[in-house]
């Protein structure tokens, strides 16, 4: 009986998580249709989905696997550039935009997953600070590699260079031109696609967490030696979590690339700034808390845009809000205060039990 109750509690929590996303989608979509939403908010919807996916996927590594990864934006970068590369090549050659985007999505995800696997094999031998530093370096390497890559296409096929733009035939086009990146990617990403991807991400992460594999992954986090002693294949499960997380980040990258028509790799979008930002979403929303990291991503992406009215003080206020939120969420005194005065706290959970 108690066991059954526990499962249903878990399911209920999941339904709430999915429900939030679907409800938010329905409300926003109605507002867009009736024209009662500002252009800013309408334009922010796809980025919100992107950051929610990134936060949830990083939570898989940081929260469930318990390893600190600072190279998450690197996987996003791989997904973004491979898919944009494909879309740019196929633009005008494929009849259906939907099919082209779907293929681009698969390619982006697959490429990010392959990179996740390749990086994961050597890197996951490390742990803690060492892992964090190596993943940070990986993210920077990807960013710098993309910045020196020149790829062009003409009737003779593809041309590669890491030096400069090479001579192409008259009918040739540059696809990736070094630091100028890819421009002219079709804008295929829509809010609906974003929401569907968020739901798929949630579905994958939540189900993985609650599966046999997920419990194995968490056992590695809680006690590596104990897990090993009962015969859990540590490398396998670590790689599994890492690769799935990379693949999901890749899907966010695909959305990112297809939401803007210019794609360049800079510190702000694919460098360490972005990786740290995603980590902030995860930490603020609660390490291991899927729903929390999704909400934190939405709030922290919205905040600087909604503070635009404050002009020069915007980033200052943003930083202060960040600190206050972090304290409110995690300081022991703040937790104590919340339990005392707010109806939805830990105390209530205990009361239910």
């Amino acid at each position: 009986m108690t066991k059954k109750k526990k499962i249903s509690k878990q399911t209920r929590s999941n339904i709430i998580t999915y429900g939030i996303v679907i409800l938010a989608y329905i409300i926003v979509q109605t507002m867009i249709n009736t024209g009662s939403i500002s252009s800013l908010m309408e334009g922010l919807m796809v980025p919100l989905c992107i950051y929610a996916i990134l936060a949830v996927s990083l939570n898989l590594v940081v929260g469930i696997l318990g390893e600190l990864s600072l190279g998450h934006a690197g996987f996003m970068c791989v997904g973004a550039f491979t898919s944009a590369f494909f879309s740019k090549c196929m633009r005008g050659e494929m009849q259906s935009d939907g099919l082209r985007f779907f293929l681009a999505l698969l390619i982006g995800i697959a490429a990010a997953a392959v990179f996740g696997l390749l990086i994961g094999i050597p890197v996951l031998r490390l742990k803690g600070d060492y892992l964090a530093i190596v993943t940070l370096a990986f993210g920077e390497i990807i960013k710098n590699l993309v910045n020196v890559l020149y790829i062009g296409k003409d009737s003779a096929g593809f041309h590669f260079s890491t030096q400069d733009v090479m001579a192409l035939d008259a009918d040739g086009t540059m696809i990736i031109s070094g630091p100028q990146g890819i421009s002219g990617t079709p804008r295929d990403a829509t809010f609906l696609i974003g929401v569907i991807l968020v739901l798929i991400t949630l579905f994958i992460v939540i189900n993985l967490t609650n599966s046999r594999s997920g419990r194995a992954i968490m056992s590695i986090r809680d006690n590596r030696i104990a897990a090993e002693s009962i015969g859990i294949n540590i490398t396998k499960y670590k790689l599994m979590a890492f690769t799935v997380s990379a693949a999901l980040a890749g899907s966010a990258g695909v959305l990112y690339a297809h939401n803007l028509s210019s794609l360049t790799a800079t510190t702000n979008n694919f460098g360490y700034n972005q990786s740290i930002m995603i980590l902030v979403f995860v930490v603020l929303g609660g390490i291991g808390n899927i729903r929390g990291s999704m909400i934190a991503a939405v709030i922290l992406t919205l905040l600087p845009e909604l503070l635009r009215g404050l002009s020069d003080y915007r980033m200052l206020i943003y930083a202060i809000v960040l600190i206050v939120m972090m304290l409110f969420n995690w300081a022991p005194k703040a937790i104590e205060w919340r339990e005392k005065y707010l109806s939805f706290g830990r105390k209530k959970k205990e009361a239910v039990k």
Binding site: I16, I27, Q180, T264
Partner: protein, 389 residues
């Protein structure tokens, strides 16, 4: 109790979703607009790495707007002006654009940097809004017919530099030091080398650095020296160029230095020994030391208003406003016209006007948005800029 918790959770989720959707939910832009004013928006980085350029553009526009408003406005209508920060990031730039649209923007002056401009031009094209960038140099940033630019494009600068060097027989053997992680720098370098080769100049060395390693240039300088370059072409900004000049001096390498418009400002750089820049030539549309009366007034006004010497970005932005004024007067644009009508009217009138600005004389535009103006080559002589051409 359990039911209560369930209900509370659902209510909470609903509240969250609602607050999410309700944020900034007013769509009042077009309605709350004053019908007797033009709404002009600007986008550029006022924070982050490129803040110096964004701030210059912001101030340049502000100065022009104040002057125009004082002189009676455009076609008798005053200008409302708002500038939004994009941190030099394409994604933020689109957000800034949407914010300005909510504010009621009818015409856009921006964006300042190239990559965001490529993203924003896609939006203005979809809305058919007139866009005029003061300083985005990449080719794609004005790829649609609704977008125009004030500055030279990357290819134009590269070609003009190579032509000038070849025509005046300044040097035969050339080395290039450029920033491979910067679209502006690598864009100019590419066309410069192509043009130089076709003119029979020899590119003896072409050395790159990146944004992550822009303090030590000894390797690049040594390679240029070993290759026997008579002239070193520097398609980069003045901060890095000042380091290159200083380090070349230490290495005993003294070629002719040739730069592009990013070099403007090198003499006023703090802690830079101006004697190192002696003989440095560069291509620029504007220098604050010009003897020209118009420039003198602009520099004096700018310094008074913002306490800062204007760089060419400010001059470009200032010119943008006067060009738009001219075009709008020509086309008889009024604020009650729709955004799309204003754009269509300006598209035609932009190609019909010729204007003398701070950044060039007799400037005119073609339908593809490129300005035709003569670049000025200046040389540093005795610690001052002297105009050569």
């Amino acid at each position: 109790m359990k039911m209560l918790k369930k209900a509370a959770s659902v209510a909470l989720a609903a509240a969250l979703a609602l607050s999410l959707a309700a944020c900034g939910g007013d769509n009042g832009g077009a309605d709350s607009r004053d019908p007797d004013k033009f709404y002009i928006g600007g986008i550029g980085p006022t924070t982050g790495d490129n803040a110096i350029y964004g701030t210059a553009v912001k101030n340049g526009i502000q100065l022009a707007v104040d002057e125009i408003n004082e002189a009676g406005g455009i076609n008798g209508y005053q200008i409302e002006y708002s500038f939004e920060d994009d941190q030099g990031d394409a994604e933020k730039s689109v957000n800034a654009y949407n914010t300005l649209k909510d504010w009621g923007m009818q015409m856009l002056v921006g964006t300042v940097t190239s990559a965001p401009c490529v993203a924003v031009v896609e939006e203005t094209h979809a809305d058919n809004m007139f866009q005029f960038t003061p300083s985005a140099t990449s080719v794609d940033s004005i790829q649609y017919e609704n977008a125009f630019r004030m500055c030279f494009s990357d290819p134009a600068q590269g070609v003009a530099s190579a032509d000038y060097i070849a025509e005046n027989g300044i040097a035969k053997k050339i080395a290039v030091i450029y920033n491979s992680s910067d679209p502006y720098s690598s864009g100019i370098r590419q066309t410069f080398e192509e043009e130089a080769k076709s003119l029979g100049l020899e590119i003896a060395a072409s050395e790159a650095f990146t944004a992550d390693s822009k303090t030590d240039f000894s390797v690049q300088i040594q390679k240029a020296k070993d290759a026997g370059a008579e002239l070193v072409f520097l398609p980069i900004y003045y901060q890095e160029a000042s380091l290159i000049l200083a380090q070349a001096d230490t290495a005993g390498f003294d070629p002719i230095w040739f730069g592009v418009d990013g070099m403007d400002g090198i003499l006023s750089l703090d802690g830079f020994d101006a004697s190192l820049a002696e003989g440095l030539m560069f291509l620029t549309p504007f220098t604050a030391d010009s003897e020209d009366e118009k420039t003198q007034t602009f520099v004096a006004d700018f310094e008074e208003a913002f306490g800062d010497t204007p760089i060419q970005f400010a001059a470009d932005a200032y010119d943008c406003l006067y060009v738009m004024k001219e075009a709008m007067e020509k086309a008889d644009v009024t604020p009650d016209m729709s955004i799309s009508d204003i754009c269509d009217a300006l598209k035609t009138s932009m190609t019909e006007i010729t204007i003398d600005g701070l950044t060039g004389t007799q400037i005119s535009w073609t339908a593809d948005g490129e300005p035709s103006k003569e670049p000025i080559v200046v040389q540093v002589e005795g610690g001052k800029y002297t105009v050569l051409k």
